[in-house]
């Protein structure tokens, strides 16, 4: 059954991606902002402008440009960046690992904080502790990630300068990597000082991304746990003499985690979207930072590649969540 779910979602994904490709391609060409207009020199004549358009392939009709682009994608060629002068696939491959490591770190932090606080809130239900947790959580929910980013900058980079503010790693340490997954590689190869440096650069952007997601997890998981704590099997366990913490972790959590997991998956896609601004603030060299430059410079090939990449990531996350939820919930697994 799980395989059927995966295949069905994969087929839908292809259709979704095709739609995304058409929309982004057409939109880029109809909204204002001609990349050629940003490049022309002061003395450019009409012929120079026409030559520049031809050079980048913007002289053909939109359907023809789309045909060429799709033809390239089929062979793995997403085009060449106008501003970076490099293949789009190469650019994306070099930037994606940084964003994935950051997003996963943020997810881990969010789950750790969200899960812990939700359990604590459940244990403290109907006390002043729960009220405090709910109040703080409401603030966390209301404040967007980029505000957290700026607050963290002020706190840990200016007031208490204990963390590096920008970049992914100190430049003098960014050597000797075989892959672009710096954190994972440095841990696996035992370069712990380097891993620590990477983590020190990652803490602030990851926290900024994690805090809003943690708040969502707290709200959903705490509510689910509270409902689960009223169920008969929990009452039975309580009669057997289980302590409150054990009741929550061993009895209620397993049944309550489904909704939180599904929502976390959805929110994780928003978290990746949030990397666009957060990476900018922390000068973090991932696809989010790349996206802003590409949009400002109207680098069509990079924007198109990025949108498709974001589409693939979102689809993969959703498939992963569906599979995980189905695996955890027998009622869903067997239809």
């Amino acid at each position: 059954m799980l395989l059927a779910v995966i295949f069905r979602r994969a087929a839908m994904a292809l259709i979704t991606l095709a739609g995304v490709a058409v929309i982004v391609f057409v939109l880029l060409r109809v909204v204002p902002g001609d990349p050629v207009a940003m490049m022309i020199g002061p003395g450019a004549t009409a012929a120079d402008i026409a030559a520049l358009k031809a050079h980048y392939g913007f002289d053909a009709s939109i359907p023809e440009q789309f045909r060429i682009w799709v033809g390239g994608i089929v062979t793995g060629d997403f085009g060449t960046s106008i501003t970076l002068h490099r293949y789009v696939t190469e650019v994306l491959a070099s930037r994606l690992p940084a964003t994935l490591e950051l997003a996963i770190a943020a997810l881990v932090i969010a789950v750790a904080i969200g899960g812990t606080v939700a359990v604590a809130g459940t244990l403290m239900r109907r006390t002043i502790g729960e009220t405090i947790i709910d109040g703080v959580n409401s603030i966390l929910l209301a404040v967007p990630d980029f505000i957290w980013a700026l607050a963290l900058v002020l706190l840990f980079a200016v007031a208490l300068p204990v963390l590096p503010l920008t970049g992914r790693i100190d430049p003098e340490l960014a050597e000797g990597f075989a892959t672009r997954f710096y954190l994972i590689e440095s841990i696996l190869t035992g370069r712990f000082a380097v891993a620590g440096n990477i983590l020190s650069h990652m803490i602030m952007p990851a926290l900024a991304l994690a805090l809003p997601l943690a708040a969502v997890i707290v709200r959903i998981l705490k509510q689910s746990l509270k409902e689960a704590m009223l169920q008969d099997y929990v009452l039975l366990a309580r009669i057997k003499g289980f302590r409150e913490l054990r009741l929550v972790l061993q009895e209620a959590l397993r049944n309550a985690i489904g909704p939180a997991l599904a929502l976390t998956g959805v929110q994780f896609t928003f978290l990746i979207g949030g990397t666009v601004i957060v990476e900018r603030i922390f000068a973090y060299p991932g696809i989010g930072n790349l996206a802003i430059d590409a949009v400002i410079n109207r680098d069509f090939p990079v924007i198109q590649g990025l949108v498709l990449l974001f589409g693939v990531i979102f689809i993969l996350i959703n498939i992963g969540v569906d599979v995980a939820v189905a695996a955890l919930n027998p009622r869903l697994r067997y239809g």
């Binding site: 204002p32 902002g33 990349p35 050629v36 207009a37 940003m38 490049m39 022309i40 020199g41 002061p42 003395g43 450019a44 004549t45 120079d48 402008i49 050079h55 960046s81 106008i82 501003t83 970076l84 002068h85 930037r95 700026l150 900058v153 980079a157 200016v158 300068p161 204990v162 963390l163 590096p164 503010l165 920008t166 970049g167 992914r168 100190d170 430049p171 003098e172 960014a174 841990i187 035992g190 712990f192 000082a193 380097v194 891993a195 620590g196 440096n197 983590l199 020190s200 803490i203 990476e279 900018r280 603030i281 922390f282 000068a283 973090y284 060299p285 930072n289 790349l290 430059d293 109207r298």
Partner: protein, 511 residues
């Protein structure tokens, strides 16, 4: 299979935690030999001669650290020898000559030769290579090399040819190396003759440069220079305030004033060659001279500079800043709201029956751009002009300007680091230029002959006359010359560059 014992896991966690919590290196710049610059833009490409980066003035400081230009430029915009030690035209300006510097080597150790210069000029002249001002380089050809001297025929006279050799996309590239590795290989491992060599690069993060020990201009003050690409102004402020970077630029003026008096920091905020202006597009109400002149006389530029820019700006009344070759301080457009109202009344407009049009502006692209336009619109309203503000992205501005579809008024900033009038008034006001907004035959008739004028004194006088005519007609509304705020650690010595290019090799040293 990767197996991790409990002991190993504990050791790993402890090691990583210790590294995370290790004291950060916020040492003073002069104490070490590394200069960390929190830079305001990213470096997208290493090709200084082609593509959008090559015409981005802000990136030139990085290019000038790695590459050399044909002709150098002092901080006051005066020209000085670069890889060319001498240059000029013959008497009838049918030929040019260029003397090439001896004893220069590329970063890979190979000798720099006059062939590199000729090849670079030909490469830049070939439009297929993507040079944005290929038309300038196409103005000379039929090169001949005799020892260190190059001569060439003038095919199309460009009075500012040699000035362009110190400007955007006028860099000398290594012929043999470039032909060997190709454009892709050059992007991955660029070499130049400049004071610094590329050591490491990560797009959107940093560029690390090492001093070129064989640099013809002497070894730079710092062994290592790190450009951190920090486009967010708040983060740049935090970089300098926390001590993570030694120097930064283009921070908000409020932050500049706060930090320049802070212990351990210094600041410089001097005029640069960028100006702010309002394009006026011909057609509709803008064809009415009274309306245009009223727009110009109604604006109190000094008040805008004082109140919005904290005094960091200088009013201009033409498209020439004081450092430009054709600056004429006698051309004045007075702030005179009474006169503005009278001019509007002649055309039947008043505060009760205002003339209406749209003004376009960016928001956040330049310091206080939107706020300045808000102030301008407020001043206009007081005399009988009712303008709607439309905010757009800079990309849309370029597209609309190229297709001559800007709104009747549109705010923009114009850079002209070589200070020639052709690269300010000329390209901004000549109707054949894709960057102009005002198109009229009377103005073209005055500008046209100046493009080929061979008598330099006559040419500059001609441009001054054009500027005066533009001011009298109100064809554009010049606002101000920008100042560039630079913050740096007190143990550094920084020389502001009027071009705005913060070049670490020549302009930053230990105090």
């Amino acid at each position: 299979m990767f197996n991790l014992t409990r002991r190993q896991a504990l050791a790993t966690s402890g090691g990583i935690l210790a590294s995370v919590l290790a004291p950060q290196r916020f040492a003073a710049a002069a104490a070490g030999n590394t200069l960390n610059i929190a830079y305001n833009v990213n470096l997208p490409s290493f090709n200084p001669d082609a593509g959008p980066s090559s015409v981005n003035p802000t990136i030139q400081a990085i290019y000038r650290s790695i590459f050399d230009q044909y002709i150098g430029q002092k901080p006051n915009l005066a020209f000085e020898p670069g890889l060319l030690t001498g240059w000029g035209w013959n008497d009838d300006k049918s030929k040019v000559w260029m003397d090439v510097r001896k004893d220069v080597v590329w970063h890979d150790g190979s000798p720099f030769t006059p062939e590199d210069v000729v090849w670079s000029l030909q490469h830049e002249a070939d439009a297929k290579n993507g040079n944005m001002v290929a038309f300038v380089w196409q103005g000379i050809g039929n090169y001949k090399i005799d020892g260190q001297r190059i001569t060439a025929d003038v095919i199309q006279f460009e009075p500012d040819l040699f000035k362009w050799m110190a400007f955007l996309s006028g860099y000398v590239l290594p012929k043999n190396y470039y032909e060997k590795v190709g454009p892709d290989g050059f992007e991955k491992k660029p070499i130049g003759t400049g004071p610094y060599m590329v050591d490491a690069y990560e797009g959107n993060a940093y560029l690390r440069l090492k001093a070129n020990p064989k640099y013809w201009g002497g070894k730079p003050a710092f062994e290592t220079v790190v450009f951190k690409f920090v486009p967010d102004a708040t983060s740049r402020v935090a970089e300098i305030e926390s001590g993570s970077s030694d120097i930064t630029l283009e921070v908000p003026y409020e932050e500049y004033d706060r930090l320049r008096v802070k212990a351990g920091l210094k600041g410089e905020c001097k005029p640069i060659s960028d100006i702010g202006m309002i394009f006026i597009t011909n057609g509709g109400v803008m064809d009415d001279k009274n309306v245009r002149l009223a727009m110009c006389h109604a604006v109190d530029k000094d008040a805008i500079i004082k109140r919005l820019l904290r005094g960091y700006g200088a009013r201009i009344d033409t498209l020439e800043a004081p450092e430009y070759a054709a600056y004429d301080p006698s051309i004045k457009v007075a702030h005179d709201p009474k006169l503005a109202a009278e001019l509007l009344a002649k055309s039947g407009f008043s505060k009760d029956k205002p003339v209406k049009f749209t003004i376009q502006t960016t928001r956040g692209y330049k310091p206080k751009d939107y706020e300045m336009i808000q102030a301008v619109v407020g001043m206009w309203r007081n005399v009988g002009i009712d303008a709607d503000i439309e905010v757009y992205e800079i990309a849309k501005h370029f597209e609309l300007r190229m297709s001559h579809k800007l709104a009747p008024a549109a705010f923009y900033n114009w850079g002209n680091a070589i200070g020639d009038p052709s690269t300010s008034t000329g390209h901004a006001m000549f109707s054949k230029s894709p960057h102009s907004a005002w198109h009229s035959d009377d103005l073209d008739a005055k500008i046209g002959p100046l493009w080929g004028e061979k008598d330099e004194a006559k040419r500059i006088a001609g441009w001054k006359a054009v500027d005066r005519y533009i001011a009298e007609q109100g064809y554009v509304l010049p606002l101000l010359q920008y100042y560039q705020p630079i913050l740096y650690k007190a143990d550094l010595k920084v020389t502001p560059n009027t071009s705005g290019a913060l070049q670490p090799a020549t302009l930053v040293s230990k105090a």
